[in-house]
């Protein structure tokens, strides 16, 4: 079919992909510069994630795995900021670790500056221990002993960090949180959620959502999925952030792609029907 020259509206079937890329880019730029404010529907699973943190009792302690890469910052950044801020607002004391090498830099530049820690004290209410190499092996070791590195991400000895006198291992926490765009979600479930039987919640990128959903709700009590999940989470928190704006742009592109897929498939079917009729008549 590609070798025949199409006529009229059937030219869409031979549309050069660069036109599609161009329209997608223009739609995104338009939505980013002039957000249309599309309505947002809250999915039950995302509401459940919000309410899981919202209903945490006073005195809850937590362990966070914050892993992200620069490429996935669009979704991972707002997700990490929203989740960490929510935990701080609920007075959850937590120890945070990263197992992806790009995470510490992004933590410093993209997460920490956006947090409101005015009534919190680093080292007392929360601590970030930095990056530990070794993937699952490291995760297994850290779960047993949070003090293993000997110092936090900023070089402070663990002896001088008050929160680490109460929270020394995963046995001492009530909640395990995964906020990452790394591929280490399986390892998180294997090494943190299941062996220690901790209440676990996860933000996961859209691409891996179907891998994680099989663990819901028995091993992972709630899951926040991708950019749409973060946008809904920000909406529920009443603190609109970057995710809501980006979600508008994403929705515009999705609508365009769905319309394009429907039109092209209809054209394909009608063209096949017309060709079949031609053959029959001959």
């Amino acid at each position: 079919m590609a070798s025949e020259k199409q006529s009229g509206i059937y030219k869409l079937l031979d549309l050069n992909r660069r036109w599609i890329y161009g329209i997608v880019v223009l739609l995104m730029i338009w939505a980013l510069l002039a957000p249309p404010g599309l309505p947002i529907a809250i999915e039950p699973m995302n509401r459940e994630f919000y309410e899981t943190i919202e209903s945490l009792p006073l005195g809850t302690t937590g362990f966070l795995e914050i892993d992200m890469s620069a490429g996935s910052l669009a979704a991972a950044g707002p997700a990490s900021v929203a989740i960490v801020q929510h935990l701080l607002d609920k007075d959850v004391k937590f120890v945070a670790y990263s197992f992806l090498e790009t995470a510490p830099v992004l933590w410093e530049t993209e997460i920490f500056p956006k947090l409101d820690t005015s009534n919190k004290q680093y080292g007392v209410d929360w601590v970030y221990m930095g990056f530990v190499e070794g993937r699952e092996n490291a995760m297994s070791a850290i779960a047993k002993d949070f003090l293993l590195p000997g110092k936090d991400a900023y070089g402070t000895s663990v002896e001088d960090i008050p929160i680490l006198k109460e929270i020394k291992s995963l046995d001492d926490v009530d909640l395990a949180v995964f906020g990452g765009s790394s591929g280490y979600y399986q390892e998180f479930i294997r090494q943190f959620s299941v062996p220690y039987k901790k209440q676990s919640i996860m933000w996961i990128e859209t691409m891996h959502l179907s891998d994680v959903i099989v663990y819901y709700p028995h091993d992972v009590v709630s899951v926040l999925g991708g950019l749409p999940g973060v946008a809904q989470y920000e909406y529920l928190r009443g603190k609109p952030g970057d995710a809501l704006v980006l979600q508008d742009a994403l929705s515009m592109v999705h609508i365009f792609l769905i319309v394009l897929v429907v039109i092209v498939n209809l054209l394909n079917i009608t063209q096949r029907g017309a060709k079949t009729q031609e053959i029959i008549q001959k």
Partner: protein
């Protein structure tokens, strides 16, 4: 904004555009190849420095300085891995590789058995179709049919006469898998769009200062 940040942002923007020039010209694209090589090289260099600075310094030298000599053992094994570059002693590099694989399998397999097999089986047993609401029962029934038919699809060791009889169920399993892969593909597209959105946001707001 400091000058260094402005220069850094501009360099990042130029590299971003060089990478996206792939959409304009695929073959013989020197801009894309240069950006790709530079980014790969820098990522590798960053990882090496981080491992040296954070891992070896924190977990080996700091502990050795405190009188604990045990971390020297894995350091020595790590150095032995480089023996693969010396043909005469290449065989020695298999020892640390064997240790890494063995430890990894030991840690991963034990946990995988519990989380990915036992817990999954236990969770599957909770998909009941009686004593629940009609909607939940229908949902659970679809799940059970999909699970069973997909498992049947992967039965390759049955006798041919049995396989022939199970063909309709196997075909149903294939359709469910196609639905899953389609949904997975859609999720992947969505994810890639989000990645691109992140870069576009950087170009528009951080570089061009349009918002």
């Amino acid at each position: 904004m400091m000058l260094s940040e402005t220069i850094g942002t501009t360099i990042a923007a130029i590299f971003t555009l060089m990478v996206y020039s792939y959409f304009v010209k695929r073959e013989d694209n020197p801009a894309f190849r240069f950006a790709q090589s530079t980014i790969l090289g820098m990522a590798m260099a960053y990882a090496v420095v981080l491992v040296l600075a954070k891992t070896i310094d924190t977990f080996v030298f700091a502990k050795v300085a405190n009188g604990n000599l045990i971390p020297l053992i894995p350091l020595i094994f790590g150095i032995i891995m480089y023996a693969r570059f010396i043909p005469k002693y290449e065989y020695l590099s298999r020892i640390p590789v064997a240790i890494i694989v063995a430890v990894g399998v030991g840690i991963g397999a034990r946990a995988a058995l519990e989380s990915q097999i036992i817990h999954q089986l236990l969770a599957t047993s909770k998909f009941v179709i009686f004593g629940v609401s009609m909607f939940t029962a229908f949902d659970n029934l679809i799940f059970l049919i999909a699970m069973f038919s997909t498992l049947v699809y992967f039965f390759f060791t049955l006798k041919p006469e049995i396989t022939e009889k199970l063909k309709p169920i196997s075909k149903l399993g294939r359709y469910f898998m196609m639905i899953y892969f389609g949904a997975r593909y859609g999720q992947t597209i969505m994810f890639r769009l989000v990645l691109f959105l992140g870069r576009l946001t950087f170009l528009l707001f951080d570089w061009l200062k349009l918002g």
